[in-house]
Amino acid sequence: MPIISAENLSKVYPVAVKEAGLKGTIQHFFRRTYRMVEAVKQVSFDIEPGEVVGFLGANGAGKTTTLKMLTGLIHPSAGRVRVAGYIPFQRKSGFLKQITLVMGQKQQLIWDLPALDTLKINAAVYNISDKEYRQRVGELTEMLSLQGKLNQPVRKLSLGERMKAELMAALLHQPQVLFLDEPTLGLDVNAQVGVREFLREYNKRYDATILLTSHYMADISALCKRVLVIHQGLLIYDGSLEGLIDQFAPYREVQVELAHPLPEVKLMHYGEIKSIEGQSARFLVQREALTRTVAQILAELEVIDLTVTDPPVEEVIGRVFSAGGVL
């Protein structure tokens, strides 16, 4: 039995349209015109309990709208959705106790008070007993390495600590289904790794289901075996992450710092050149040719530094879109 199931889910929004300039403003005041925007179109998927699924798409592709429909904040214009056996939009208490939604910057923590105060409020709101409260706070504090941070006013915490405390407040009631919208946005690399490790651990320990969006490929590749890609409201890919990369980005990016600047002709045969700036050059190299090409570069050129990275997720998705492929 899937724990999340969406069937032909669609959402249409009215968006007020205003012409620029004074004339447009006056028209806007007296007669407002609206344009209907189809944010999500006929999206269907099932997610089994315990799965960690990445939800990818460019800004405005419909990710957040879908998450809001799955959590019951907005009502679908058409289609069916069930989460943990409930219809989300009814927001029954039994449903709310099983889910959580974390949206990057929107904090539920009370800014001027220590995070512990918010946690106490949440414990009361979710009917968590004192004993259980202490146990869970202890456990989560350890998992998130937040020792000593919970009794400082939230405004004094660093962005990374605040995000972790935010996660803690969102997870105190031990939800079975986690919807995370950009949980690592704006965090430095260490904090990103911390949050990632925590989510992996949480998923393992409680067999929780996680659906998360992220702009960081590293988040997705560390956590998700399966990804959903949404583009202009349409679900265009549902499958393994490897499959997605092989299919749409079967290459990696190689960045070389050379001892001496070299002309383009000398570098061309290593891979598709993306840019040459003085001594540094960037190539795209086919995955299967990667080891060979890197060895070749190191052997044939005077190299100061060489790095190999995954193409940014936006770029992979960009390829998916330009391929236009509904699979």
Partner: protein, 262 residues
């Protein structure tokens, strides 16, 4: 029941701590409610020249009580609620198994508690400066006054929260509150006791919610003649009416909010 009590206790404690974070502001807030004390000066002067049914001491006591009532009935839910809607902070609150209004109720109630010492200090100061106005109300009057103040707070909160719900449709719901505040200022007894209004105007006003927000409880405490039963019944009717409108708007508003993307 037990869990409701626990929720109430925890919410109040947390918001009380929150309010105490603003020590200096609390004092200023208490002071900022001192319009009645200024008006007291004006009216006691005017009373010296006669022609009102009330003496200078009556006016002094009246406005002191108005000051106290205001301390207990200050409401700002519309500004907070509007911010939540515009900034999208309402969304996470909607995903908790508790109506978001209880956060506002708790913050208002605990703020009362936090500003109480300052308000009492100001009352004490007043009696030191103006000893001839000291009076001891009967226990009966104090009890009725307490009930009337609680009603006044509930009514004022409900009215403003109802206006606040218009934030679902317009970005500036507090414009409604600002407009309404003009009437509140004149008809509630904040600027002048209802007793100095012409008889026919007063009779009309007694059917509106305004006098029950300030004049009614104040008059009870200083022992002016008021129809207590009628007053309480009218207050309760307005509370019931605004409650119904409020719940209806809340349901309609949530639909609108989600329709626009939450």
């Amino acid at each position: 029941m037990n869990s409701i009590m626990k929720k109430a206790r925890v919410l109040l404690t947390a918001y009380y701590a929150y309010m105490l974070e603003y020590r200096a502001e609390l004092f200023l807030w208490a002071l900022s409610g001192s319009l009645p004390l200024i008006l007291m000066g004006v009216w006691t002067q005017a009373a010296q020249s006669g022609q009102f049914g009330l003496t200078a001491e009556d006016f002094a006591r009246y406005f002191l009580t108005v000051f106290i009532v205001r301390q207990f009935t200050v409401v700002w839910v519309i500004y907070e609620f509007e911010k939540e809607v515009v900034e999208g902070k309402l969304s996470p609150r909607l995903l908790q198994p508790i109506d978001p209004v209880w956060h506002h109720v708790a913050s208002h109630l605990s703020e009362r508690l936090a500003r109480l010492p300052f308000a009492l200090g100001l009352v004490g100061l007043f009696f030191i400066l103006y000893p001839q106005a000291v009076w001891i109300p009967s226990l009966n009057h104090i009890l009725l006054f307490a009930i009337a103040v609680i009603f006044a707070f509930i009514l004022r909160f409900l009215i403003q929260y109802t206006f606040a719900l218009f934030a679902f449709w317009t970005e500036r719901a507090n414009a409604i509150e600002n407009f309404w505040f003009l009437f509140y200022l004149f008809f509630s007894g904040l600027i002048a006791p209802l007793d100095v209004f012409p008889e026919n105007i007063r009779n009309v006003l007694l059917w509106t919610p305004f006098p029950y927000l300030i004049d009614f409880p104040a008059s009870i405490l200083i022992g002016l003649p008021v129809n207590i039963l009628q007053g309480m019944l009218v207050t309760l009717s307005w509370i019931a009416l605004f409650f119904i409108i409020n719940r209806w708007l809340w349901r309609r508003g949530l639909k609108q909010y989600s329709g626009m993307g939450a």
